[in-house]
Amino acid sequence: MVKDLSIELCGIKLANPVVPASGTFGFGLELADSFNLNILGGISLKGTTLEPRYGNPTPRVAECHDGMINSVGLQNPGIDALVSQKVPALRKVYDGCIIANISGFSIDEYRTCCAKADACEGIDIIEVNISCPNVHNGGMAFGTSPDAAADVTRAVKSVCKNKPVFIKLSPNVTDIVAIARACEDAGADGLTLVNTFLGMRIDIKQRKPVIANTMGGYSGRAVFPVALRMVYQVAHACKIPVMGCGGVASAEDVIEMMMAGATAVQVGAENLRNPFACPEIIEALPDKLEDLNIESIKDIIKVV
């Protein structure tokens, strides 16, 4: 039976709800030789800042039980290269929804980058990362207080005239709903949650942290229940659409996230262990919907 997998985010139609999460799918083109990218509902591009960045020293990755810690630290070629090279190159092979993921170290930087992204034809949605745990005095600092989150939201909304703005939230907070509401009140068009959980591993033989930067962002299958809980809380407290993210690894997980309130679902670290995770999940969705007597995937959003 043909199932309707399509969803809509702020008026933008996605063929299905599955989107590789920022930082776990490069700038899209890196995987173009491995499978047909057009299968994907959308692609969230690697986090981009005003200036090019090398990122953090290596090791940048530590394995954990059912998950991993990363400390890439926003390695990227800068916003100008994103809009002039990365996005046009991806557009040549990909017709779906392109999400630019923007990070910054100051409100001004967020504003400048988002204005450039807003002016870029190939970009459909702007995702503002106020939750990166991997850079000092930037990223997550804006995502851990409702006032700071609202300030960033207002600043970027004032320059984004063409494209919907999703604010990407940190789970490293005591009350994610308060921050979500602050962003909604400040004019956000949608929310993505969650980013990674601040974590750490120690090499017990060498008596030192595995990650060169000591700490990093923990994510992967293990965080799914916590992410799901946050998506549920936020989706029930806010009216704007939510992209659910955190530990998603199967078609069942996608359905669960959507039932909790997500309109679209992002797949992160799972791509690293299985670069074919997204196409495999999308392929598995129709049968799962059939098992559950669901005709159209839209119908399950926030049913719980």
Binding site: G23, G26, K46, T58, E63, N271, L272
Partner: protein, 242 residues
């Protein structure tokens, strides 16, 4: 990059903590390394391709941690998930007539595939292998059967020349127009420092995806920021910042 399922045809202890793993599946694998899915472990384990024929890959690995220890217990006949077609390998064409290959420990594995290619191109191949001790030695017979000249060194002198690979190179005084090296970083650094002329070395870095899209393995090189898994693991001597 391809995701494939292979059958373990051989998984045997061949030297101290060192296993030979032969996998059977479909097609001829290209790429410098494969990324093995180990049941119960979140990330894959990158292992260099030592030999590849139609339907068959040979790998050598050392048990250094929990993942490789689990791998060592997988019985012959069991299935294993493998990502193939990863990494940019040694450039056999960079050598005109005569090559020098210098390996430390299991660095001998990926250089074997290169030695076969160089021989198939009709070039002379000189090989120096270094190990800590005699009981760690692998692939010596294979190399001897293939190469034009061969020298062995062990740190404790339990086989071959006593000392480092650089000592064995001094003893051998090989001719070469291009060299290739793979092994521990300190060894490759010493080799690249000691040897005249151009060469390539294969670097190691902790990896996330192993396939070029997570940027966990980025390093600084003289030619800019590079991903070890995709732009490497093999880099030109001149480009490596030690």
């Amino acid at each position: 990059m391809k995701k494939q399922s292979y059958t373990i045809a051989e998984n045997r202890l061949v030297a101290t903590k060192t296993y030979k793993l032969v996998l059977e599946g479909e097609g001829l694998v290209d790429g410098e390394f494969v990324n093995l899915e180990i049941p119960g472990f979140y990330l894959r384990r990158p292992i260099s391709v030592c030999d590849a024929e139609e339907g068959r890959i040979t790998l050598y690995y050392k048990t250094v941690g929990k993942g490789t220890a689990f791998l060592a217990d997988l019985p012959e006949g069991s299935k294993i998930g493998v990502l193939t077609g990863l990494g940019r390998g040694f450039d056999a064409d960079a050598c005109k007539e005569e090559a020098l290959l210098v390996a430390g420990g299991l660095g001998a594995a990926p250089l074997y595939l290169l030695a076969k290619k160089l021989k198939a191109q009709g070039k002379k191949v000189n090989v120096v292998l270094g190990f800590n001790k005699a009981d760690e030695i692998v692939l010596v017979d294979e190399y001897k059967a293939l190469c034009d000249s061969f020298e062995l060194a062990t740190l404790d002198g339990s086989a071959g020349i006593k000392g480092f690979v650089t000592d064995a190179i001094s003893a051998m005084k090989p001719n070469y127009d291009f060299f290739y090296t793979c092994g521990p970083m300190v060894m490759m650094r010493a080799v690249c420092g000691a040897l005249e002329g151009s060469g390539e070395a294969s670097l190691e870095e902790r990896m996330g995806c192993g396939a070029g899209f997570c940027y966990c393995c980025s390093i600084h090189t003289a030619a800019g920021t590079k991903r070890v898994c995709k732009d490497g693991p093999v880099f030109k001597k001149e480009d490596i910042i030690w």
